[in-house]
């Protein structure tokens, strides 16, 4: 196979080598990050990066559904009007403290755990974690046993309950298999940010920041260092790649 000459190629290598750590990621506005370093298809994923999200529920509006809509459009997730069986890769959860009446809203999706219970229980290894921390389902070896759905503490996974049509080439789906948020791996690999994060910026919220948790100079790392944040069900010690503020 011929390799297309890509400028990002060299950027990537410098990035990995640590020579252009700051230059690899450019913040153009609060919460907006352009990933200059895409990954060529013939280059293996490494654990030098760990992709993550920081979600600030203070900036997340209860009535806003932009991230959910964007995810469905990006990944071709249809809405059959059957909420019990329709796939939901990302959902908005409204939380109220019954003691104080304080309430907040936040999107919940696959938390891309460092120790993902879904991958632990998967009998065939179809659920797996990529070296860069993205948790995925290999659609070719998923047998549809749904044990991962039993194991996920976040209800992040959906089973494809009916025949699929009009699939996106970058997000293959299949009836009888399990799926969940891929952190828009197809976009991340070419140096772009996930669709939900982009939509959040577009909606003037800026509640979501995407970036490399391993890079101390990335926006997400700086934010995490600067402000307190937490993980949902931190007690399970899964070391999630998705972190929250204001919950």
């Amino acid at each position: 196979m011929s390799k297309l000459p890509e400028k990002t190629d060299t950027d990537r290598r410098r990035f990995v080598a640590g020579a252009a750590v700051v230059g690899g990621t450019v913040a153009i506005a609060p919460g907006v990050t352009l990933m200059a370093a895409g990954r060529p298809a013939d280059e293996a994923v490494t654990d030098k990066v760990r992709w993550g999200l920081l979600i600030d529920s203070n900036k997340c509006d209860q009535g806003c559904n932009a991230c959910v809509t964007a995810c469905k459009a990006e990944n071709g997730i249809p809405d059959f009007g059957r909420p019990a069986t329709d796939a939901q890769w990302i959902r908005k959860v409204d939380v109220t403290d019954p003691q104080t009446g304080n309430s907040f809203s936040l999107p919940v999706m696959c938390q891309h755990c460092e120790h993902p219970p879904c991958a632990d229980v998967c009998p065939t290894g179809a659920s797996f974690k990529r070296a860069d921390g993205i948790v995925l389902v290999d659609k070719h070896i998923c047998i549809g046993c749904r044990y991962c759905m039993m194991a996920c503490p976040y209800k992040a996974r959906s089973f494809v309950h009916e025949p699929v049509a009009n699939q996106k080439p970058h997000a293959p789906r299949g009836m009888g298999t399990v799926e969940s948020c891929t952190l828009c791996v197809h976009r991340v690999d070419r140096g772009a940010i996930p669709a939900c994060v982009e939509a959040c910026v577009g909606a003037q919220r800026g509640a979501m920041v995407f970036g490399d948790l391993n890079d101390p100079n990335s926006l997400i790392s700086r934010r995490l260092r600067e402000y307190p944040s937490t993980q949902i069900r931190a007690d399970l010690r899964l070391n999630t790649g998705v972190r929250y503020r204001g919950i």
């Binding site: 959902r91 109220t96 632990d120 044990y147």
Partner: protein
């Protein structure tokens, strides 16, 4: 002079063919249900993204658990050396195999991609208890088949003890594995307890023995081979102990849960949540499936009556199914706690008790698995010699009279 026990096939009489025809119909309906689901997808079931395991899993796990327990009778004969159980051992081994195949068939046909079964056999994630179970189930079939060979082929008889011991140990590990499917689910309040593994072992003892008794009685009555009172008495006492044993584990499980507020949520939901799971737990499992059979087995009016023992066995199986329903589906009906102590709502049923109503295809699939088990057992018994020619006490146990006199004397003392 030692009396050699003779084994004989069951007769392929009219009742046998009627049974096969009925089971064949049920298997056919299950096949239709399977293809229906294959075309339309799981949207045609009552299962959804909240209740991901439904009625097929209750049927499957009921049979898988019963399979390991059905081996009890053989184990008592081979491993613990109780001679009277030895003639009953081949049927015990047969049931272990047919129940397991019936249960696995339902489990496999309910997969989203049953056509990828070969992947489940070739790709193993050794951190997954599910993957270990695949190995344990296949291994169990092989070991029990070997065990049957040592029991039924005279030249192999001398190996029956070591192979029987291997089968006994393997089945304990197997049921530990089945219980651990739930025990290892750290995220769900209703599971995540090590006690589920021994609880499943006890469940396997009671359900497996009940199925064994029912099969033995059905085969005996259909072939005019009356079962001796002495052996029935032993088996029914054993069944009573197992039923009480399961009840003990269930009580300990819930009482320890109720002690701390964090775990009490799950037990309160089952015990007093007011959903169908509360009704099934108390009415089906505790009253109909445990207390009633215990009363029937030990009340002086009914104890020893073969029909009463049959009824108690049926109730034990129903109770076991009820308990599994509550564990499997009730455990998923309880909402996952992403934010403990908070009120939550979403488009994905967060914070809601999840409802489940099984659809016809699921019911047919589960019933078809049971029919497959019954048909395989009946055919095997008609083709090979699994059952002694006589089930009378003096034929099964040469020392019957002496032993029973001793027991009676001990009981009086």
């Amino acid at each position: 002079m030692k009396n050699r026990i003779r084994f004989r096939e069951i007769e392929a009489n009219r009742g046998f063919w009627a049974l096969l025809a009925l089971m064949g119909t049920l298997i056919g309906l299950a096949a239709l249900a399977f293809f229906y689901l294959k075309i339309y997808g799981h949207v045609a079931t009552g299962m959804n993204n909240q209740i991901v395991w439904g009625l097929p899993h209750v049927f499957a796990i009921l049979m898988i658990v019963a399979a390991s327990g059905a081996l009890n009778v053989a184990s008592i004969g081979s491993v613990f050396g109780r001679k009277v159980y030895k003639p009953l051992a081949p049927l015990s081994g047969l049931l272990a195999v047919t129940l397991l195949i019936g249960g696995l068939a339902v489990l496999v046909l309910d997969l989203g991609r049953p056509d990828r079964l070969i992947i489940a056999m070739t790709h193993y994630n050794f951190k997954s208890i599910f993957a270990w179970n695949i190995i344990l189930y296949n291994g169990f079939l092989v070991i029990v088949a070997l065990y049957l060979w040592t029991l039924m082929e005279r030249r192999m008889n001398r190996y029956s003890k070591p192979v029987g011991l291997a089968a006994f140990l393997w089945r304990l590990i197997l049921t530990t594995g089945t219980g651990s499917i739930f025990g290892f689910l750290v995220a769900r309040d209703a599971y995540d307890a090590a006690i589920l593994a021994p609880m499943f072992i006890l469940m396997s003892f009671s359900i497996g023995l009940a199925v064994y008794l029912l099969t033995l009685m059905a085969a005996a009555s259909g072939n005019n081979r009356p079962i001796g009172h002495h052996i029935m008495n032993r088996l029914k006492n054993l069944l009573g102990i197992f039923i009480a044993g399961v009840l003990y584990f269930v009580v300990v499980f819930h009482v320890t849960n109720l002690y701390s507020e964090q775990n009490a949520v799950a037990s309160r939901f089952i015990l007093a949540g007011g959903t169908e799971h509360t009704t099934i737990f108390w009415l089906v499992y505790v009253v109909i499936g445990s207390l009633l059979p215990l009363a029937i087995l030990f009340a002086p009016q009914t104890a020893g009556n073969p029909r009463a023992i049959g009824l108690a066995s049926v109730l034990t199986v129903i109770g076991g199914a009820g308990l599994l329903y509550v564990i499997i589906i009730g455990g998923q009906a309880l909402p996952l706690q992403l934010f403990p102590g908070m009120e939550v709502s979403s488009s994905f049923a967060d914070g809601q008790v999840n409802a489940y109503t099984p659809s016809l295809p699921e019911i047919l699939l589960g019933v078809g698995g049971v029919a497959l088990f019954v048909a395989m057992t009946a055919v095997a018994m008609a083709v090979l010699r699994f059952l002694p020619e006589s089930l009378a006490d003096d034929k099964l146990d040469p020392h019957y009279s002496a032993e029973s006199t001793q027991e009676e004397a001990a009981a009086k003392a």
